[in-house]
Structure formats: C-alpha cells, structure tokens
C-alpha cells in the first residue's frame, strides 16, 4: 500500500484530500508546512509527496528544494499543487524540483492518474538503505 505525504496548511483541504486518498487505499501522512514536511519525509520516507506552495514558515518551493537536495528524500516524487493558476507558477514549481504540477481546486481523477503514473515510474528506483 503506497504511502502519500500531503503537505497542506489549510485544514479542510488537507482533511478532504487525505480521506479521499484513503478511500482509494493509499496510506496517508500529513504535514502542515515546509519544516514539518521535511521532518516527516526524512522519518517516514513516503512513496510520493503532494506539496502545496503557499504556506507560512517554509513554503512549498523551499521544502521541495530541500527534499530534492537531501539524499534520504531526493528520490521521492513530488507533485506540486497550487491555487496559483498562472503559467509562471507552474514553471517555478517544476524548476524547484517538482516532478509534476496540478492546480487547485483539485480534479481528483486527474490527480489520481498523475499519482499512479509517478508511482509506476518510481517503482524501479529503490530507496537507499537506511
């Protein structure tokens, strides 16, 4: 059962997305900001991370860059989710090291497709031994 870490500061969005993923048989972890995300990812090594961009403290851009630079978490695919619909935000998100981008409000079925595709691609890559 793949584990997904949801990084999202908005409680309702976090809860709704977590419950919908759980209904699709994913194991879900949550983090409320960038610092929390980095700590949870290092400790639990999820199979995939859904990363919000605009967050207090460490934002999604910084957290993505941190995670991608860390040998413990660098292999974990990250899908950046943002309520910014401007094309430059998409570019920025991908430049920060995100593997894919989707906009909010989330179209759940489309997001699921992206998750499945990244998990499949990552399945060949084994995480380094802890």
């Amino acid at each position: 059962m793949p584990t997904i870490l949801i990084v999202e500061d908005n409680e309702a969005s976090r809860d709704a997305l977590a419950r919908r993923l759980q209904r699709r048989d994913f194991s879900v972890l949550t983090a409320v900001d960038g610092h929390d995300a980095v700590a949870r990812a290092r400790e639990a090594r999820p199979d995939l991370i859904l990363m919000d961009l605009g967050m207090p403290g460490m934002d999604g851009w910084d957290a993505t860059a941190h995670l991608k630079a860390d040998p413990l978490t660098g292999h974990i695919p990250i899908i950046v989710l943002s309520a910014h619909a401007m094309p430059n935000h998409r570019h920025q998100a991908l430049a920060a090291g995100g593997d894919d981008f989707d906009s909010k409000p989330v179209q759940f079925e489309r997001l699921l497709e992206k998750i499945e595709r990244l998990l499949l691609a990552a399945s060949g890559v084994r995480p380094p031994a802890a």
Binding site: N10, A12, S13, A16, L17, R19, R20, R23, G54, A83, H84, A85, M86, S103, K104, P105, V106, F108
Partner: protein, 484 residues
C-alpha cells in the same frame, strides 16, 4: 495664445522699429568715434602742414613763426577738439553729428586757407561729405553744405585768395564751388535714403524671423509638454491595468483554496453516501458540487479575461487538422446538446489543416456550441466549417430563443447575458462569449452574430489559416518542448 495671434503684425512692426532704431544708433555711434579720431588727426596734420609749407616771416633781420602756424594750432584746435570731445562723451546724439558736420567743413575751409587756396585742397570738402554720409542721415549733409557755401561766399568776397588762391577770382566762383558740392550731395542723399530703406527691410525681416522662431519654440515646448502628459497618463493606465490584473490573480488564488475544500468534500460525501446507501442525499450533494464547479469556471474566465487585458495571454501555435478538432468538440458537447432534445448536424468536408492555438480554438468552439445547446430546446444545432483563401470560417447556428438587436450589440461584453431572466433560466457565466471574442482578436480573427428573437442565432468565427504568420511575434510562445 489667441491674443498673441491677433496682435501679431503689430508686435512684429514694433519689434522691427526697435531693431531699426538700435541699428541706426549703432551706426551713428561708430561713425562719431571715427570722426573723433579724424578730428585729432586733421588738427595735427594742419599744424604739420602749416609748419612745413609756410615760410618763416622776416621782419628785418628777425624771423618769426608764420601766422599760419598759429592759426593751425589755435584755430584748428578750436574747430577740432570740441566735436572730438562730443563724439566721445555724447556719441550717437543728433546734435553731436550736426556739430561734427559743421566742424568738418570749417576744418576744410581752414586747410584751404593754409594751403593758399590750392584747388586740390578743395577735395577735402568732397571727401568730408562722403565721410559724413557714413551716418546714413541725409540731414547731416545740409549744415555741411550750408557752411561750405557761406564760407566760399564770404571769403570769396572779402578774401578771395584765401579760398581761390592767386588765380583770377570771379564774383560767382563761390556759386560754382557750391554747385559741385550739391552735385555730390545728390548722390549722397540717395545713398543715405537707400541704405536707410535697406536697414528698415532688414529690421522687419529680422523681427519676423524672431517671431517665427519664438512661435516655433513655443509650439515645440507645448508639444513636448503634451507628449510628457500623455506618457504619464499612459503609464498610469498601464499601472492601473497591472494592479487590477495582480488583484484578480491574488483574488483568484484566495477563492480557489476554499473552493478546493468544497469540491473535494462534496465528492467525498457523494462517495460515502453511495457506500452507505443514503441515495436521498445525492442530488443535494451534486448541486453543491456543480455550484462549486460553476464558481470555478467563473474564476477561470475572469482570470483569462484579466490576462488578455493585461497583455499576458500568449499563443501556442501548432498545425492541426480542422475536421478532427471539430468532431472532437462536437463529441464532447453532444450529451449536453441531446439533454434538451436537440440534434447536432456537422458540415465539415475537406477543410485541411490550419496553424493556430489549438487550445484556444477548441475553447472558442466549445463555448459557442455550449451556448447553442443551452439556449435551444428540441431544435437543431448546425456546425459548418468552410475554407476560404486566407481563413477558416466556423459557423454555429441554432434554432433557439434568439436575441433582439439591442442584445446582440453587447453580447460580446463580459457579464452581459441577453437579460437577467435568461441568465436565471439557462445558467452560464456570462463570460463565454467575451472570451470567444477576445481569443478571436488575439488570433487576428473575428466573431460576429446574426440573430432573431424566437428564430435562433448564428455565430460566425473567422480565423487565419496561419495565425503565426499574421499576429505580432511577441505574443507567440516559443515552440513547445515535446513531452518527455
């Protein structure tokens, strides 16, 4: 400005008079200075001449200085020094040049006397008259001529050899000398009058030129001020558009966050209701979900419009087969069309390829077909595509409710559905056609509508076959990188 125009000739004439007067005074002053030097020179020359020419006077064995030498010193000094002083202290005054004229002629008379009435010395008179004409004032010649005539008359009567030498003197010889002087005067008068005339013309031309230069400078100054004001206004307008666009982008972001929760929860609750077999709540949950999606459409539409207005909308041009696109779009909207008992007919043969922004062309057709489906009940929606020499023409015709002429006039403006009741009955964001119109313009095309109330509407969109060849290259996106 207008007051200045009215008094234009008067102001030029006044300025010309002023320039002329300045020029005249300048000439008078400079000529006065020349005469000041000449006076001193003549005085000294007279003395030297007297000393050189005059024999020593002998009274028995005693020699004395000749009376002519004393005359040259004292009489010459009396004649020359006063006008020389005037020329220095009161240069330019009329009285100065009249005094100089008289003095110059008296000096001539003295020199003629000192040379024993030599006829050659009379040339001094003619030279002096010519020199006086430097003043370009014919009036100066009058006292000079009078002095010469009187001098010749009186000395000719009382002391002829002083003026005519030892040659045979005649009673009327003074008149002959005076006549020659007048003969020269005539030329000098004419010369003076002509040069004054020329000076006046020059002054008028200069004044007119000055006026023209001033007018032009004023016009240039005004033009540059207008241009500066225009630049500021334009900058303000751009800043306002930018601020509005930024506000909309940030508002769109703020609205999306709660909307995300609304849509996710309504879908979650639907799934849970199905699992729990609580099917009675499903319709309400679907309404929440559809309202949330409607709100999302609105936000996206507003964002699109603000991007177009802020000039941030770009085109991603690619080549695609037109018929394929049309059939895809028709298939997408078919459920919506058939929902109200409508049928859809497509006329699209052999239209080939076009180069345009595929997503935006699709959006245009989706919006038009969506509208047609929305406002038609148990009717027909006809989609036509024709290839013309430079453009592809798409028509979407329906047999729906139609519009009045007033309604068609504003139908492409944002938030102007035909009327409020329509909006309530048929739904829609009121942004669809505004976006269609702006996308068409962005791709150097156009959209138009023909409609009749109760009969139906027909929208026609014309897009260039090769959009990239026509639109400004600045709004074209760089060629898309193929997906990895």
């Amino acid at each position: 400005m207008s007051a200045l125009h009215l008094s234009e000739p008067a102001s030029i004439a006044a300025r010309a008079d002023q320039l002329f007067a300045e020029h005249q005074r300048d000439i008078h002053t400079r000529t006065d200075r020349l005469f000041a030097s000449l006076m001193v020179l003549q005085w000294v020359a007279g003395i030297v001449f007297a000393v050189w020419v005059s024999p020593l006077a002998w009274f028995g064995t005693v020699s004395r200085v000749h009376a002519h030498v004393w005359a040259a010193i004292f009489l010459g000094g009396a004649i020359c020094l006063f006008p020389a002083l005037l020329a220095i202290l009161r240069a330019g005054d009329a009285s100065t040049r009249y005094t100089i004229a008289v003095a110059q002629m008296l000096m001539g008379a003295l020199l003629i006397h000192l040379t024993g009435g030599r006829i050659e010395t009379h040339f001094h008179v003619f030279g002096s008259l010519a020199f006086l004409a430097f003043y370009r004032d014919w009036r100066v010649l009058v006292p000079a001529t009078v002095v010469v005539a009187l001098d010749h008359l009186l000395r000719g009567m009382l002391w002829p050899q002083s003026v005519y030498g030892v040659l045979v003197a005649s009673q009327w010889r003074w008149l002959e000398h005076a006549a020659w002087v007048v003969f020269e005067d005539v030329f000098l008068f004419v010369s003076c009058l002509r040069s004054v005339e020329e000076m006046k013309e020059t002054a008028i031309r200069t004044a007119a030129l000055e006026h023209e230069v001033r007018t032009r400078q004023q016009a240039e100054q005004e033009a540059s001020m207008t241009a500066a004001a225009l630049r500021i206004t334009q900058q303000q307008a751009e800043e306002a558009t930018q601020a509005k666009s930024e506000f909309l982008a940030s508002m769109s972001h703020e609205l999306r966050t709660p909307l995300n929760a609304i849509i996710l929860y309504s879908e979650l609750l639907q799934e849970e209701a199905v699992d729990a077999k609580r099917l009675d709540t499903l319709p309400d949950l679907k309404r929440i979900n559809s309202a949330g999606n409607h709100l999302l459409e609105l936000i996206n539409g507003i964002l699109d419009l603000s991007k177009i207005e802020a000039g941030k909308m770009t085109l991603s041009v690619e080549e695609f087969p037109v018929a394929t696109l049309v059939h895809q779009v028709v298939d997408t909207v078919r459920p919506l069309v058939e929902q109200h008992g409508n049928r859809v007919v497509v006329h699209c043969d052999e239209v080939g390829m076009m180069r345009a922004d595929l997503m935006k062309t699709r959006q245009i057709l989706l919006n038009l077909l969506g509208n047609a489906a929305k406002f038609t009940r148990a009717g027909t929606i006809t989609v036509g595509v024709r290839r013309m020499s430079e453009a592809i023409a798409f028509t979407v015709a329906d047999t729906g409710i139609g519009m009045t002429a007033e309604q068609t006039a504003t139908i492409f403006d944002p938030f102007t559905q035909a009327d409020v009741a329509t909006s309530r009955r048929y739904g829609g964001t009121g942004l669809g056609l505004a976006i269609v119109s702006r996308f068409c313009v962005l791709m150097a095309g156009a959209v138009s509508v023909q409609s009749e109330r109760g009969v139906g509407s027909c929208f026609t969109v014309r897009l260039p076959i090769d959009v990239a060849a026509i639109v400004d290259a600045a709004i074209l996106e760089p060629a898309a990188v193929p997906a990895a």
